[in-house]
């Protein structure tokens, strides 16, 4: 895929969202917080398999998995977001495989909660004060989380952070991810 086709696919994504005004988000949890990614980016969701560590790889890369013959780099989103590392692996832990920015990447999450359909209007921009110059441009916005509801009041105190998968990696990072996948792939064939 060339750079152009990414842009055009993003455009058609945008158009689609604008036309229907609806978004479908795959929601997952990391250390009590809820995140959502556009379902169009999600290729599949797997139970946690063994992640092969790659020496000398970028810090945010946890390793690679063999996905039916395809070598896919895996990143630890907790580490990427500066959250404390998971104390234990639970049965709920999943690898969400996403296709974005020309790479296929697995993201380790604590649990996948649900697929949510909501109107794009309900996603509010990130409060200005919480923005940083470069670091979190990958946050599309914030919405009230319908996932974690209070049992008594039926209201949710939590927020859902919607990630912009077209921006989640820097150019450098996508290069690093591709390299990891290529090298591990070549090693597997030897």
């Amino acid at each position: 895929m060339s750079g152009d086709s990414i842009i055009s696919s993003t455009r058609s994504d945008l158009q689609r969202t604008q036309e229907t005004g609806q978004l479908q988000l795959v929601c997952f949890r990391l250390d009590e917080e809820d995140f959502g990614v556009d379902i169009h980016h999600v290729q599949e969701i797997n139970r946690r398999v063994k992640v092969t560590k790659i020496p000398q790889s970028a810090a945010f890369v946890e390793g690679v998995i063999n996905l039916r013959g395809k070598i896919v780099p895996v990143i630890d989103l907790r580490r990427r977001f500066g959250f404390p590392p998971a104390t234990e692996q639970t049965k709920e832990s999943r690898i969400v495989v996403v296709e974005t920015q020309d790479v296929t990447v697995g993201m380790v999450v604590d649990e996948v909660t649900e697929v949510l359909r909501l109107s794009s209007e309900s996603i509010k921009p990130t409060p200005e004060i919480a923005l940083s110059e470069v670091e979190n441009q990958y946050i599309k916005g914030v919405t009230n989380s319908p996932v974690q509801k209070d049992d008594v009041t039926g209201k949710s105190e939590h927020l859902l952070i919607v990630l912009d998968m077209d921006r989640i990696f820097t150019q450098q990072e996508t290069r690093a991810l591709r390299r990891v996948a290529d090298e591990a792939g070549a090693a597997a064939q030897d």
């Binding site: 809820d34 977001f81 500066g82 409060p127 200005e128 940083s132 979190n136 441009q137 952070i161």
Partner: protein, 178 residues
């Protein structure tokens, strides 16, 4: 009969307030010090609810809260002021929701204790020597009340605005990266 007296007292009180008070501030504690903000800038004071952490934010931003459906960013004032962070929040901790640059912003403070009515004599500008070198001037003035100094915050300086990448700013022209 008694009611009449109280209304009289109240009226006298009001007159006293309007005659001598120049501003009313809400005082709160942070470490050993007492700070205050102008009452008009305070939207509400709440107990600390669940704070959703937002990845990649500046270090003093704790996250955001859902305030009756409205998304309000929350800042830890201790971190902002370079004091030792509180760690676990206690029952006394509060979030003061203020209006900064016409947006709501929550500040975590140790406790909120009183509303003070200040007169001109009590207020002094910040001594020049203590002014910070950088443009991070959080303190607008100092009030001395019963031998105690209370620092009044300039809430509009509490954070510097980040140029957000608004789509209408890149009018078709894309600059190559690097």
């Amino acid at each position: 009969m008694e009611a009449e007296i109280t209304t009289k007292v109240n009226r006298a009180d009001e007159q006293f307030v309007s005659a001598r008070t120049v501003r009313q501030v809400i005082c709160f504690g942070l470490g050993e010090e007492t700070f205050a903000v102008d009452i008009y800038q305070v939207q509400e004071i709440i107990h600390i609810p669940h704070i959703t952490r937002i990845p990649g934010t500046r270090q003093f931003v704790e996250g955001a809260i859902n305030l009756r459906g409205k998304i309000v960013p929350v800042m830890d004032l201790r971190k902002r002021f370079g004091l030792t962070p509180t760690g676990e929040h206690t029952r006394k901790n509060r979030i003061m929701v203020l209006t900064v640059h016409s947006n709501p912003v929550g500040l975590i403070v140790d406790f909120v204790n009183q509303v003070l009515q200040l007169t001109t004599e009590m207020l002094t500008p910040v001594p020049e020597m203590t002014l910070p070198v950088a443009d991070e001037n959080f303190i607008e003035s100092v009030a001395s009340v019963n031998d105690e100094l209370i620092m009044i915050l300039d809430v509009n300086n509490i954070y510097t605005r980040v140029q957000s990448e608004a789509p209408h700013n890149n009018t078709g022209v894309t600059r190559p990266h690097g």
